[in-house]
């Protein structure tokens, strides 16, 4: 089952009716039943992975909690130095359990998503030393959402270990947290406490809330069907016939791909946030108008926000504050004089892991790792060059706060992101390289005007629709950036205006949606991670 089907709407309706008629205390049970139904229908036997993950973190967290609780009781009877001893022991035990649970979770995702990737690395290493290819290439289908629920599970057990939350006693609640159907396909990554607290509350059917959720759902459908899938047809044609298209056409394709992935991913987020809102559950935002960012640092705080937050809390801080890093830091400090560079070392070290993990999370291939490190290198270069760029700007009498510089920063960020998307979209690192060199070696702008962009199934009117919907998207984003709440503003208009807008939006999806016939079957890009 997919979010963009009519069957899903029926599923929502049925779940909603059951949800709001259920007794308050077990309302969340309806969500669990619906989520499991959704999951089993998509995955069949692979549901076992989900259940195994839930079991691992449930058990691990409970053990950790038990150790902590026992310590809290025993410490009252002890002297200070005995307490310290006991504390150390307890911490060590907790660490082992947490680490074991996390390793098990990682093994599960490695054995499905990353099996062939690591298998090929091992094979290459082995054949280089003459041993041959011991690891077979298996055709493995990933369980739905494994990239998402694995990270959420790790965040849960780490939070229990850090005493940020207490372990959950009800295994079903934990299961719901992992497989909640709005966030199982493409996220966002929520943390345990905010979500479980909301699940436990009772929610009455609220007309305005349901209506607003519905509007957001429809807006997401618009972004996906009218913009993303339309752009996608052009992008797919160009990228799969690389030799037919010039560098200039590729630039258009890359821009369209950036538009595609943004509207599809953020559209999906609109759909799931709107859906969840209807049930009274608020899930985290993943996008905050990222293309208004002034730097790639800022971009990654506005794009796929929850992934960035997860990496920050569970990779960046732990690595940079870890004991073993302290030792490395001390060694490095002896060799560097610049105070500025010294201050950068902890970040540089930790960020390498962050970006490596970011890349690897997106996919089991060298291309994705390169994608992550692309941003790492650019960010580090930017940071390291900051004193120099400050001097240059001062000499040119340009202020970082000026309007002109602001626009320059936004455009620069967009260009960097588009090149990143070129890597992301290419079938492999080598295709990315050939596309990149092709842009400069074979620019040939005339091909754009000779009809190359009218790929099969695309009409000039399609570009017209793309342009209009892009302008609409830009306007709405700009208004939101300035602080306007679109749905609130809408609800204040008189009925004829409101209803006209809703009708136009709905029929735009039906009529201008890029589905059926010419348009290829589309899936969610981020659902394949």
């Amino acid at each position: 089952m997919n979010y963009t089907t009519i069957v899903f709407l029926f599923f929502l309706l049925a779940t909603g009716v059951l949800y709001f008629s259920a007794p308050k205390k077990i309302q969340w049970g309806v969500l669990l039943a619906a989520s499991m139904f959704f999951y089993i229908l998509s995955c069949g036997v692979k549901t076992a992975f989900l259940l195994a993950a839930a079991t691992v973190i449930y058990t691990g967290a409970l053990i950790i909690q038990t150790i902590e609780d026992k310590f809290a009781i025993r410490k009252k009877e002890l002297e200070k130095n005995q307490r310290k001893e006991l504390r150390k022991k307890a911490e060590r035990k907790k660490k082992i359990i947490a680490a074991a649970s996390i390793i098990l979770m990682i093994l599960m995702i490695f054995s499905t998503k990353y099996f062939n990737f690591f298998g090929s690395i091992i094979n290459q290493a082995m054949s280089a030393s003459g041993i041959g290819h011991p690891i077979p290439v298996l055709k493995i289908l990933m369980p739905l959402g494994i990239s998402y629920y694995t990270l959420m599970g790790i965040s849960y057990i780490t939070d229990v270990y850090r005493k940020t939350i207490t372990a959950e006693r009800n295994p079903l609640m934990l299961l719901l947290f992992l497989c909640y159907f709005p966030h199982i396909i493409e996220g966002p990554f929520d943390r345990y406490a905010p979500l479980s607290n909301q699940f436990r509350q009772s929610h009455r059917p609220d007309y305005d809330r349901i209506k607003n959720g519905g509007i957001r759902l429809v807006w997401g459908l618009f972004k996906k069907f009218v913009i993303a899938d339309r752009a996608g047809l052009i992008v797919n044609t160009v990228f799969s016939h690389e030799d037919m298209y010039s560098g200039s056409v590729f630039i258009i394709a890359i821009l369209l791909y950036t538009l595609q992935i943004y509207t599809e991913f953020s559209g999906c987020m609109d759909m799931v946030c709107g859906t969840s809102q209807m049930f009274g559950i608020t899930i985290s935002e993943n996008f905050k108008r990222p293309f208004f960012s002034r730097s790639i640092n800022e971009f990654w705080r506005r794009w796929h926000i929850t992934l960035g937050e997860w990496l920050k809390d569970y990779v960046f801080y732990p690595v940079s504050l870890s004991g073993h890093f302290k030792k490395i830091n001390e060694k490095i400090r002896k060799h560097i004089n610049s105070k500025y560079l010294l201050a950068l070392i902890p970040s540089a070290y930790a960020l390498f892991f962050v970006w490596f993990c970011n890349g690897l999370w997106h996919g089991a291939s060298i291309k994705y790792i390169f994608y992550g490190l692309y941003y790492y290198i650019l960010m580090m270069m930017g940071q390291a060059a900051k004193p120099l760029s400050d001097k240059c700007l001062a000499k040119l009498h340009v202020s970082r706060n000026s309007h002109g510089y602001h626009i320059f920063e936004v455009i620069r960020t967009c260009i960097i992101v588009c090149f990143g998307m070129m890597i992301f979209r290419s079938g492999s690192l080598s295709q990315a390289c050939s596309v990149f060199t092709g842009i400069f070696a074979n620019f040939n702008i005339s091909q754009i005007f000779s009809g190359a962009l009218m790929v099969k199934g695309i009409h000039i009117w399609d570009y017209f629709i793309l342009a209009i919907s892009f302008m609409l998207l830009l306007t709405i984003s700009y208004l939101q950036e300035k602080g306007m709440n679109i749905r609130e503003t809408l609800s204040k208009q008189i009925i004829p205006i409101r209803w006209t807008i809703y009708i136009i939006l709905l029929f735009s999806i039906i009529i201008f949606g890029a589905y059926g016939g010419n348009f290829a079957n589309t899936t969610f890009i981020y659902g394949e991670f």
């Binding site: 801080y317 732990p318 201050a343």
Partner: protein
């Protein structure tokens, strides 16, 4: 407090830290600054700030940072 302000000014010379309550949430102290800050504080005040302590409430104002430091110094095992 004086030492804390000295550390803060070294990390970000052009930011005013006094009297504010939004240092973390405004983005003036981003995660990379936090790392530098934490490692300097750990050295200077002989405490061990851990990841769960890195939350907006603790770092939004200089007073709150001092409170965190004091809490860690006094902390019962």
């Amino acid at each position: 407090m004086k030492e804390l302000l000295k550390i803060l000014h070294e990390i970000k010379p052009d930011v005013n830290f006094e009297g504010r309550t939004d240092l973390f949430s405004s983005g003036d102290l981003d995660s990379m600054n936090i790392i530098m800050l934490v490692s300097e504080i750990n050295d200077e005040f002989d405490v061990d700030i851990k990841v769960p302590d890195i939350i907006p409430e603790n770092f939004n104002s200089t007073e709150n940072i001092m409170k965190l430091i004091k809490k860690l110094q006094d902390e019962e095992i």
